[in-house]
């Protein structure tokens, strides 16, 4: 059953169980599992939302804007590095 209880994994909410609104089906890379979303009762997730899954519970909703911002930051760094390396190469050649 795995060896890493501390694991938190992002999964997408596929559907909320009609009869048990604290249960949702999440998908992780093609794999589905029912998880408990009771800890998100203040702002329940909807299908399409992504959540962080920990020991069978959704612990938090993933904030897409924040994720995009983080990616942007990383891509910027990546791009500036590519530019720098390219500049370095050119300066080498010259």
């Amino acid at each position: 059953m795995g060896d890493r209880m501390c694991l938190g994994i992002p999964g997408e909410i596929i559907e909320i169980r009609q009869d048990r609104p604290d249960l949702a089906t999440v998908a992780v890379s093609g794999v589905k599992r029912a998880i408990n979303i009771g800890l998100l009762a203040d702002d329940p997730p909807l299908p399409g939302d992504w959540v962080l899954i920990h020991v069978g519970f959704a612990l938090s909703k993933i904030d897409e804007d924040e994720a995009a911002a983080a990616m942007e930051f990383l891509e910027d760094i990546g791009q500036s590095y590519v530019d720098e390396v390219a500049a370095l190469r050119e300066s080498d050649i010259d």
Binding site: M1, C6, P10, H54, G56, S60, S80, Y81, V82
Partner: protein, 375 residues
């Protein structure tokens, strides 16, 4: 996998590494502690140290909930499991943690029935399916996991299930960090804050570190780029002379945490006056116990526990490793007497333990291998 693969990109890592290098002041050595064992695991599993300049050292902290369980509690758990009709359930991580007379697997070999579960809810399900057994859930974990235990207890109470109880070993992260900050033998330049704990408690509880101790804290995610970026953010604070709490993991961690989760913990549990941490000794208000209201679901009250304090093995230097004072390989028994097969300390057992992570993933001469890889 979304939110995973994009944070494992090697070319971005190279770029970040270059940025980090540039932030290093010549001749200065930097020491950052990743508080959380999940970070330690990521660092070694992805070979993240290969990206760090030699003058940045990552120091592994006390944030592995398996590692901090003292022997006496393992013995207590086995004692419970030995009672007739008891089925003990536990996360996989606990199965190999040594008690004074063997681990859970050994105990099973000698006759108990201790099973791994993925979730505390699975324990409760087993209890429903086996009314003839008493099912105990060995609850361990920081604030990340405590809400799941609490929700499970609430559900059991609601359903009136009485063949279920929780052996509560939940610990809290702040007292542990305080213990480390108070320890005289460690000089740290900053902290990688435990991202998953923070989904529950938020970022504010770390503010005292920045404010009172002048150390920057970056709450970090668990993909390797999260960690690398967090190191970058720490370096930037240092370079800029700041000491603040920053949230690298904002996609998952709300600044104020998860109030539902905090309410659930609070409804079911209350702080213990003190609790023993493996290697660290007794720390005040560092763990949770079940409230009186849920006494019926509390294994500690349902079973008569020996509760004997068992001294750590003499050779064990886990305390030093958990405080970041020693690197795993600096422990005298590391890799010889103490291996994942024959662990003396808990840090060698849990995949989030520093010794296990270093032994399983990092135990090779990085320089020599780099040459080989390039050949």
């Amino acid at each position: 996998m979304r939110f995973v693969d994009e944070f494992r990109d090697a070319s971005t890592a190279r770029a970040l590494a270059a940025k980090i290098s540039k932030l290093c002041e010549p001749g200065r050595h930097y020491k950052f502690m990743e508080v959380c064992g999940g970070h330690t695991h990521t660092i070694y599993k992805h070979g993240l140290e290969d990206y760090l300049p030699d003058n940045i050292t990552l120091v592994h902290g006390p944030g592995c909930p398996v590692c901090v369980i003292p022997m006496g509690r393992v013995d207590d758990a086995i004692h419970i499991a030995r009672q007739p009709g008891v089925l003990m359930t536990s996360f996989g991580d606990m199965m190999r943690v040594p008690g004074s007379d063997g681990n859970f697997f050994d105990s099973n070999a000698a006759g108990t029935n201790i099973r791994m579960v993925y979730s505390p809810l699975d324990s409760l399900k087993i209890a429903r399916q086996h009314p003839d057994l008493h099912v105990v859930f060995m609850a361990i974990g920081f604030e990340t996991t405590a809400p799941s235990t609490a929700m499970t207890v609430l559900r059991a109470a609601e359903e009136g299930i009485d063949n279920f109880s929780v052996f509560c070993n939940h610990v809290t992260i702040i007292p542990a960090i305080k213990a480390i900050l108070d320890s005289p033998d460690l000089r740290l330049d900053g902290f990688l804050g435990p991202g998953h704990v923070s989904t529950v408690i938020g970022c504010r509880p770390y503010e005292f570190i920045a404010r009172d101790h002048g150390k920057p804290v970056v709450v970090a995610g668990f993909e390797p780029l999260d960690i690398l970026q967090s190191i970058y953010l720490l370096m930037r604070q240092l370079r800029q002379g700041r000491a603040e709490v920053e949230n690298q993991y904002a996609r998952v961690v709300p600044w104020d945490g998860n109030p539902v989760a905090l309410r659930a913990i609070n409804a079911v549990m209350e702080p213990r006056p003190y609790f023993e941490w493996r290697g660290l000794g007794f720390i005040s208000h560092s763990a949770m116990r079940m409230r009186d209201r849920y006494a019926g679901l509390d294994a500690e009250r349902r079973f008569d526990l020996p509760g004997v304090r068992v001294a750590d093995p003499k050779a064990c230097q886990c305390g030093e490793v958990l405080k970041g004072v020693l690197k795993p390989w600096e422990c005298k028994v590391f890799g010889t007497a103490c291996t994942p097969e024959t662990p003396i300390g808990t840090c060698m057992v849990s995949p989030e333990g520093a010794c296990a992570a270093y032994y399983n993933f990092g135990r090779f001469d990085r320089r020599r291998v780099r040459e080989v890889s390039r050949a």
